[in-house]
């Protein structure tokens, strides 16, 4: 097995990871990035492996960032899944050429975000997916999730997906946003003039969608073999879903539903970093010192969405700060690190305020967790219904981990990555507590399923 000794290992090659890599490499540290994608870039700077002309400035921006990183001498391990990080910081990964190990002096976790999925009747039908998945299909080779796509959920990301779909010639036929545009959203936008241009562009995209609703929610996906229609209902001002006023949009072949993002805390949780909970930041996130990205665990740093959902601008800035700090803590001091730090911090704070404000304003409606019916499957891997989970909670298990023990919800192949957020929200609703109190299932080794032959090769004594 190959072993790479390095100063700083960065897990995740999105905007945060690449920015961290550049800052650390420029300071003189040896840097290795481990990234699951065919090419680095993450979701935001996703590169099309077919080499098609860039769909957006994001793609060319990412391409430039990757070129800069390579020029700076950073080693990029693409197509590699990290399956473990041991307490001594040794990283076990499995790549296209088999298992390898990285032995770093410090780790920067830039693992990104995952769509927040809420189970509802019909959500397991083929053709129903997350906006993030729809965006990925479009960015990787220009494929659309369907010819007649309905985009639904909440948050500005829906507009970004609408824009991408329009660019590949498949603009959505309907946009169902749960939040009504209100004074709060307008006031928030008014306070951040730097974002007006982007907002205007996205709103222009939205205006081209024939059926636009604000204050409506998808209550059911309909179809037998795959999704062919969707039931939607208005949300009353008191937050209650007015099922009596529901309508059906028929003749669709794809439904993208998402409720924003949650931080991917699997690696930081495995390393026992301290985590905090904030709904506006996507739920559980890795707590860091904002000026350095230092976590509660020595030699472990975090940057980007894993430190709280805030989008690509804070991801780049927090990445740069974590890169600078990790390098400096190892004795690699570039030119004027204090000034570089001060500049990034000065930009990071307002960018995060903007994002957290949006996170609060576009918080999913409380009644969202009531959409699932008794026979709705909550955990797809183990086919556990809401009835099963409710019975376990009733019988005294109380929390997400208890529901898992008694029903296997979250015990299957995805280990709760897909359903964990939704089950926490539903459990909180059933037991009259908060999603924070309902907790989450701690990740364990391995972070992703990995063949036993790989595990054996990776755990046999290796020569460093």
């Amino acid at each position: 097995m190959k072993v790479f000794k390095t100063d700083i290992a960065i897990i995740g090659g999105g905007p945060a990871g690449l920015s961290a890599a550049l800052a650390a490499a420029k300071a003189g540290a040896r840097v290795d990035i481990i990234d699951a994608g065919f090419l680095p870039g993450g979701q935001y700077w996703m590169q099309d492996p077919t080499g098609a002309p860039p769909l957006s400035d994001q793609v060319s921006e990412g391409r430039d960032a990757i070129a800069t990183i390579r020029a700076a001498g950073v080693t990029i391990h693409s197509g590699a899944e990290v399956w473990t990080v041991f307490p001594d910081l040794k990283i076990g990964a499995n790549g296209p050429d088999g298992p390898f190990e990285i032995v770093p002096r410090a780790i920067i976790v830039a693992s990104g975000a995952h769509d927040r999925v809420m189970p509802f009747p019909g959500w397991t039908l083929p053709g129903v997916m997350t906006p993030g998945a729809g965006q990925r299909l479009a960015k990787l080779g220009g494929m659309s999730a369907g010819d007649r796509v309905v985009l639904a959920g909440s948050g500005p990301f829906l507009l970004a997906v609408a824009e991408t779909l329009a660019k590949i010639g498949k603009p959505p036929i309907a946009l169902i946003e749960a939040k009504r545009t209100n004074a709060g959203i307008l006031a928030h936008m008014a306070r951040h003039p730097a974002r007006w241009r982007e907002a205007a562009r996205l709103l222009a995209t939205a205006r081209a969608i024939p059926d636009r609703r604000a204050g409506w929610i998808v209550t059911e996906a309909l179809g037998t073999e795959r999704v062919t229609a969707v039931r939607i209902a208005p949300i009353a001002t008191n937050g209650v879903i007015a099922h009596d006023d529901a309508e059906v949009i028929a003749g669709i072949d794809a439904l993208l539903v998402g409720w924003g993002f949650r931080p991917m805390i699997e690696v930081t949780a495995l390393l026992r970093c301290r985590h905090e909970y904030d709904r506006a930041q996507g739920g559980w996130f890795c707590a860091t010192d904002p000026k350095s990205g230092r976590t509660s665990v020595e030699h472990v740093y975090a940057a980007g969405e894993v430190t709280g959902i805030a989008g690509s601008v804070p991801a780049r800035l927090s990445g740069r700060l974590a890169g600078l700090a990790a390098a400096a803590d190892l004795g690699f001091i570039g030119s004027d690190p204090a000034a570089a730090q001060a500049e990034a911090v000065a930009k990071l704070m307002p960018a995060r305020r903007f994002a957290y404000g949006l996170g609060r304003l576009y918080a999913p409606p409380e009644s969202l967790a009531d959409l699932a019916q008794d026979d709705t499957v909550l955990c797809r891997c183990e086919e556990v219904t809401k009835r099963d989970v409710a019975a376990a909670l009733d019988a005294g298990t109380q929390a997400v981990s208890g529901a898992k023990m008694w029903t296997r919800a979250g015990m299957g192949r995805c280990q709760g990555r897909v359903c964990g957020w939704g089950i926490a929200e539903i459990a909180a609703r059933i037991t009259s507590t908060t999603p924070e109190a309902a907790g989450f299932n701690a990740p364990r080794i391995p972070l992703r399923p990995v063949p036993l032959s790989v595990v054996l090769e990776a755990t046999r004594e290796v020569e460093a």
């Binding site: 015990m411 036993l452 595990v455």
Partner: protein
């Protein structure tokens, strides 16, 4: 203030649940307090083998009773994936034969029916066990259960008889009046009780110490691995022959859960005594992963490309002679049932019966001296 009870059971693992269930049959009012979630600490992480094979010679009659009791629960409430699948214990080399024959003799004398099988006979029972073993013992009466659902079944059976359960309420202190226990302090408030049974696994000694009782129970790290779900690939519980000495002597248990996940662990000699705190559970060790995967693939070479899905760690409660501490201890009204040594699942129902008999003042059908919490002091005095 929580309403009082005749008996407070501290801990809703399988032992606490079994104690509560046994007591509920006496008509006494019982209140179970659990610091976390039922079965959520040690019990749920168990591989929950119900059997008599290669276990403890002196405990054999007790173990037989426990196996029958579990079968009776399954006949009455078949909700916990009880599967009487039998158990194979593989031998790697001829030098282990003496030990295997010894156990077969002991168990046959007790009316059980284990036998020694050659590799071809083993494969008739376990077709994918194609690794180069020397032979294996076969004990047809062993069963496995889903540990979470077994705890749930015991608790729900008890609750149907009026037992109360309070989860997420750590018991912090025993309450005493003179030389008698009168209840416990919990994070949910004090609870009055004429008797208190501590079935707190590795946390038992800490609570007992609040009444000045010093118990020789220490926590020991125990680890396990699971693969992603597979079609039916393993039919039995597969373990290593309990051998004296030998290069590879250690503990192995491999089985396939009803979910299809293959659960497995191997702890080689010398790797079992890592102490630590059950309050800060770490990850599995690298050497443990290696030994477990190596053993699994030695026995089942065709599993090499199956994916590992999950690992977990728990702290089991260990006593100096690897037997439970079960019975009255310290001030009047205080009982304990703890010290599973990693093999408590099967025994839990018997421990429930012992405690219920003691509180009721009934004679026990078992050799309770084996579990007497004061046995070490007596030995020292003698």
């Amino acid at each position: 203030m929580v309403a009082g009870a005749d008996v407070i059971v501290v801990g809703a693992g399988v032992v606490g649940a079994a104690v509560a269930e046994a007591l509920s049959r006496t008509g006494r009012s019982v209140h179970v307090v659990e610091q976390g979630l039922p079965g959520g600490a040690v019990s749920g992480a168990s591989l929950a083998c119900i059997g008599t094979h290669m276990n403890d010679e002196e405990e054999l009659p007790f173990l037989k009773w426990c196996c029958d009791e579990w079968a009776a629960f399954d006949a009455h409430t078949p909700t916990f994936e009880y599967d009487r699948c039998g158990q194979l214990r593989f031998l790697k080399q001829e030098s282990e034969l003496n030990s295997a024959r010894h156990w077969i003799d002991v168990e046959r004398n007790a009316g059980l029916a284990p036998e020694l099988l050659d590799p071809a006979e083993v494969r008739r029972i376990e077709p994918l066990l194609t690794g180069p073993i020397h032979s294996a013992t076969w004990s047809p009466n062993s069963a496995v259960v889903n540990p979470f659902l077994a705890v749930r079944m015991l608790l729900e059976t008890a609750q149907a008889q009026g037992v109360r359960l309070t989860s997420r309420a750590p018991a912090t202190k025993l309450r005493l009046k003179g030389d008698r226990v009168i209840g416990v302090e919990t994070s949910a408030g004090p609870i009055d009780g004429d008797h208190v049974v501590i079935a707190g696994g590795p946390w038992t000694a800490k609570l007992a110490a609040t009444a000045g009782v010093d118990l020789p129970i220490v926590p020991r790290k125990a680890q396990c691995l699971a693969t992603v779900s597979q079609p039916r690939s393993i039919r039995t519980v597969v373990g290593a022959c309990k051998a004296e000495g030998g290069v590879d002597a250690g503990y192995t248990q491999i089985q396939q859960a009803m979910s299809g996940q293959i659960l497995f662990n191997t702890v080689l000699e010398g790797g079992v005594t890592a102490h630590g705190s059950p309050d800060a559970v770490p990850e599995v060790d690298r050497a443990f992963i290696r030994d477990s995967v190596e053993t699994l693939l030695f026995l089942f070479p065709s599993f090499a490309e199956i994916e590992l899905l999950r690992s977990w760690v728990r702290y089991e409660a260990v006593t100096p002679d690897d037997r439970f501490l079960t019975g009255p201890v310290g001030p009047d009204g205080l009982y304990i049932a703890a010290g599973d040594g990693g093999v408590g699942f099967c025994r839990s129902v018997g421990m429930g019966r012992i405690i219920a008999d003691q509180i009721e003042g009934r004679p026990s059908p078992f050799r309770t001296d084996l579990y007497d919490p004061a046995r070490f002091e007596r030995r020292q005095a003698a």
